[in-house]
C-alpha cells in the first residue's frame, strides 16, 4: 500500500526574518514536547525553524521561549 501526499495546514508559523537559527538557535525545537519543529535551510541559504509534523498540542513553549518572538502558535484548523 503506497503512501499518498495529503496536505494539511500547520498551526505553528515562524517569521523567517526574526528567526536566528542561522546563529545556532534551536530553542523551539528543543522545548517542544511533541517534537514537531525542525530547522530547515531556506532558498537564500539561511536557516529557519519550521513545523515539520502536524502533531501539535497548541501548548506554546515554542512561542514563549523563542528569544526573538519569531514563533506564532495558532490553533490547528480542525478545532479552531
Amino acid at each position: 500500500m503506497p503512501l499518498a501526499q495529503t496536505a494539511t495546514s500547520v498551526p505553528v508559523t515562524v517569521n523567517k526574518d526574526l528567526c536566528i537559527a542561522d546563529k545556532g538557535c534551536t530553542v523551539c525545537v528543543d522545548v517542544c514536547p511533541l517534537d514537531v519543529l525542525r530547522i530547515a535551510v531556506t532558498d537564500d541559504g539561511t536557516k529557519t525553524a519550521y513545523m515539520k509534523y502536524d502533531e501539535c498540542w497548541y501548548c506554546m513553549p515554542c512561542e514563549a521561549d523563542c528569544p526573538t518572538g519569531a514563533v506564532t502558535v495558532n490553533l490547528p484548523y480542525l478545532l479552531k
Binding site: 528543543d30 514536547p33 511533541l34 517534537d35 498540542w57 506554546m60 514563549a64 495558532n74 478545532l79
Partner: protein, 580 residues
C-alpha cells in the same frame, strides 16, 4: 535529524526515574537528597524543561490540605466518597498529612501561592464538601522553578529517549529499554530501582475535533506507563474507572470552573440555569452533565456573563496566560467574549488518569507497585483524584523509599533475549518498503474506542471493540510502516494506545456493575456492593491476554457514616430552588 540509525548503548544507574513531568522530578530530587551518593537518572521522551502536564504552568493546587482549612480526615473522607468507597485510604491519608510540607517546599523553590490580607493561604471551596483549592499567582513558573532545582541537585537528565519496556529479573525490576526519538538508537538502562511518572494515557479516546493531538492531556502522554507496567507483570487497578472531563468544546482544555467557580462562575444549561451544585470533577458530576446534554436542555456552558467586569478580567488574566494559554486565542478566533456569551462545553474523550479519576498502576502508600523495586507516582498510579500536588507528594514518597531500597542492592540479572526481542518489535516498521503509517493505526484504534468503549457502556459493543482491536493489532504487527525516527516514536505510541484500548475494554467487561457515575456506567447493571465493593486488578495473563482479580478495599482509616456515603450523588440542583 530523524534518520534511522542502528545503535545500542547500555548505562547503569542506581535509580532510574522515567518521566520528567511533575512526579518524576520530585522523585529524583527526593532520592538524591536522601542519598546524595546515589546515581539518579531522570529520563524523558520530551525535554524536561517543558515536558508534562505542567509544561506551561498551572492555575493552582486543586487538592491542598492546609491546616485551618481542612484536615487529613476530611480530605480522606471526601476522596473516598467521591470514589464510591473504592479507595485504599492509607495512600490518600498519608498524602493529606504530608502535602502541606511539599507546598512549603514548592514555596521555597519560588512558586507562590495565593494569600489573603492576613498573610494566610487563600484556599477556595470547589469540592462538594471541603475546601482545598489554592490558586498560584505565578503558576506559569512552576516548571522553570522545578528545573532549576534539578540542575542544582545535579540530577542526570536524559531527554528525547522514550522508554518502551521494563526489564525484570530475579523477581524484581532490572531496568528499562529506551529508544531515541530522533535517531531510533537504543539505550538499555540497568537500574536497581525504577520510578515511573509517565503521566496519563491521554491519547486513548479521539477528541470530537478528530485531531489526534487535540487531547485534554499533554499529548506526549500516550500511556506507556500503563503498557510498560502491564508487560512487566505489574497489577493495574480499576482501569474501568475512566477519566472523562467537562471541557471547552473543540478546544478541549479545561473550562476552569475551579478558577471561575470561587469567583461566581458556574456550569449552566442552554437556558443559563445552574443544574449541578458543585463543579468539582467526579463520575457522578459527569453523569449529571451527560444527562443534561442528552436530556434536551443542552448544550452545557460555563457561565461568566453575569459577573462584574473586574471579576471577568481577573478570570481572563489567569486563564489566558497559564496552563493552556492558547485558550485566549481560541475564544478570540470565535469572537467569544466572556462578558457577553457563555462558553460552550462538552464531554472529553476517555482516558486513564488517576490525577482526575482513579485508573492506574496499583501502588501502596509508599508508591510501591506489585513488582519489587518498581514505583509509580502521579497520573499513572492509582491514588484517586491526585492532581498536581498528589504527583509531587507521591513522587516524593517514591524517591525516598527507592533511596532506601537500593542500599545493599545489586543489579538484578535479566534475560538479554528480552532486549533482542524488543529491538525486533520496535524496528519491524522500519524494515518494510511500504504499509500503513502509524497515524492511521492510531486514528482507527481511537475512533473504535469512541464508537464502542465510551460510556454508557454496553456489553455487546465492548465485545465488538475487542474483535476490531484484534484486527487492527494484526495490521499493526504485520503492516505498520515508518520512514524516519520520529514516525517510529509515533508507531511505538500507536502500539501503546492499542494496549491501553485492550485493557480498557477488558477491565470494563470484568466489572459487571455500574460505579463511579458516568465513568463506569454499564447500562445493563446496577451498582452491586455485595459483589463489587472491591478493586479490580488487571495483569497480563499467561496467555498474553488481560487477566483479572478482585482485591479487597483495605479497612478504612477514616470511617464514613452511612448517611454521608452517597453525598456525591446529591449534586443535582433541586428544580424548585433553581426556579427561584
Amino acid at each position: 535529524m530523524d534518520e534511522i540509525l542502528d545503535g545500542l548503548t547500555q548505562i547503569d544507574c542506581d535509580i532510574l526515574v522515567i518521566g520528567g513531568g511533575t512526579a518524576g522530578p520530585m522523585a529524583a530530587l527526593k532520592a538524591k537528597k536522601k542519598n546524595p551518593e546515589a546515581n539518579v537518572v531522570l529520563l524523558d521522551k520530551a525535554n524536561v524543561k517543558r515536558s508534562g502536564a505542567i509544561s506551561m504552568g498551572m492555575d493552582g493546587l486543586n487538592n491542598s490540605v492546609i491546616p485551618g482549612y481542612a484536615t487529613p480526615e476530611q480530605y480522606t473522607k471526601e476522596i473516598t466518597i467521591a470514589n464510591d468507597g473504592i479507595c485504599d485510604q492509607a495512600a490518600v491519608y498519608r498524602y493529606a498529612e504530608e502535602c502541606y510540607g511539599i507546598i512549603q517546599e514548592l514555596d521555597s523553590f519560588g512558586i507562590r501561592f495565593q494569600k489573603d490580607q492576613n498573610g494566610e493561604y487563600d484556599v477556595k471551596k470547589v469540592h462538594h464538601i471541603g475546601t482545598y483549592v489554592l490558586p498560584m499567582p505565578n503558576g506559569d513558573t512552576v516548571k522553570k522553578a522545578l528545573y532549576r532545582q534539578l540542575r542544582k541537585a545535579r540530577i542526570n537528565i536524559v531527554n528525547r529517549y522514550m522508554a518502551t519496556r521494563l526489564l525484570t529479573g530475579e523477581g524484581r525490576v532490572a531496568g528499562a529499554i529506551c529508544v531515541n526519538t530522533r535517531t531510533a538508537e537504543f539505550l538499555v538502562v540497568r537500574a536497581k530501582a525504577v520510578i515511573m511518572g509517565l503521566g496519563a494515557a491521554g491519547r486513548l479516546g479521539l477528541p470530537t475535533s478528530g485531531y489526534l493531538y487535540g487531547t485534554y492531556e499533554n499529548a506526549s502522554n500516550s500511556g506507556e506507563g500503563y503498557a510498560m507496567a502491564y508487560h512487566a507483570g505489574a497489577g493495574l487497578a480499576n482501569l474501568e474507572c475512566y477519566q472523562i472531563n467537562p471541557l471547552i468544546k473543540d478546544y478541549n482544555g479545561p473550562a476552569c470552573a475551579y478558577v471561575a467557580g470561587p469567583l461566581g462562575g458556574y456550569t449552566a444549561n442552554a437556558a443559563g440555569e445552574r443544574f449541578i451544585e458543585c463543579d468539582y470533577w467526579s463520575g457522578q458530576m459527569m453523569q449529571e452533565f451527560y444527562d443534561e446534554l442528552q436530556g434536551g436542555k443542552g448544550p452545557v456552558f460555563l457561565k461568566l456573563n453575569h459577573l462584574a467586569e473586574e471579576t471577568v478580567a481577573e478570570i481572563e488574566r489567569v486563564l489566558h496566560i497559564v496552563e493552556r494559554p492558547t485558550r485566549g486565542h481560541f475564544h478570540a478566533g470565535r469572537g467569544t467574549d466572556y462578558r457577553k456569551t457563555m462558553i460552550e462545553m462538552h464531554i472529553s474523550e476517555i482516558g486513564f488518569c488517576s490525577g482526575h479519576s482513579a485508573s492506574g498502576v496499583f501502588v501502596d502508600e509508599n508508591a510501591r507497585t506489585t513488582i519489587a523495586g518498581l514505583y509509580a507516582a502521579g497520573d499513572m498510579a492509582n491514588v484517586p483524584h491526585n492532581y498536581m500536588l498528589g504527583a509531587f507528594t507521591h513522587g516524593a514518597f517514591a524517591g525516598e523509599d527507592a533511596a532506601d531500597y537500593i542500599k545493599d542492592m545489586d543489579f538484578a540479572e535479566f534475560d538479554h533475549a528480552e532486549v533482542e526481542a524488543e529491538r525486533l518489535r520496535v524496528l519491524a516498521p522500519t524494515k518494510r518498503d511500504d504499509g500503513i503509517p502509524p497515524n492511521q493505526i492510531e486514528y482507527k484504534t481511537r475512533r473504535l474506542v469512541n464508537d464502542y468503549l465510551q460510556p454508557p457502556k454496553v456489553t455487546a459493543k465492548m465485545q465488538l471493540a475487542q474483535k476490531r482491536f484484534a484486527e487492527v493489532r494484526e495490521d499493526m504487527e504485520q503492516g505498520m510502516y515508518v520512514r524516519d525516527a520520529h514516525e517510529l516514536m509515533r508507531s511505538l505510541e500507536a502500539s501503546t494506545i492499542l494496549d491501553c484500548a485492550d485493557m480498557a475494554a477488558a477491565a470494563s467487561l470484568y466489572r459487571t456493575e455500574s460505579r463511579w457515575g458516568l465513568y463506569h456506567n454499564r447500562v445493563e447493571y446496577e451498582r452491586d456492593d455485595e459483589n463489587w465493593f472491591c478493586h479490580t486488578i488487571l495483569t497480563k495473563g499467561a496467555d498474553g491476554q488481560p487477566a483479572h482479580a478482585k482485591k479487597a478495599v483495605q479497612p478504612y482509616v477514616v470511617d464514613i457514616a452511612d448517611e454521608e456515603k452517597d453525598a456525591y450523588y446529591n449534586q443535582r440542583v433541586d428544580p424548585s430552588v433553581a426556579a427561584e
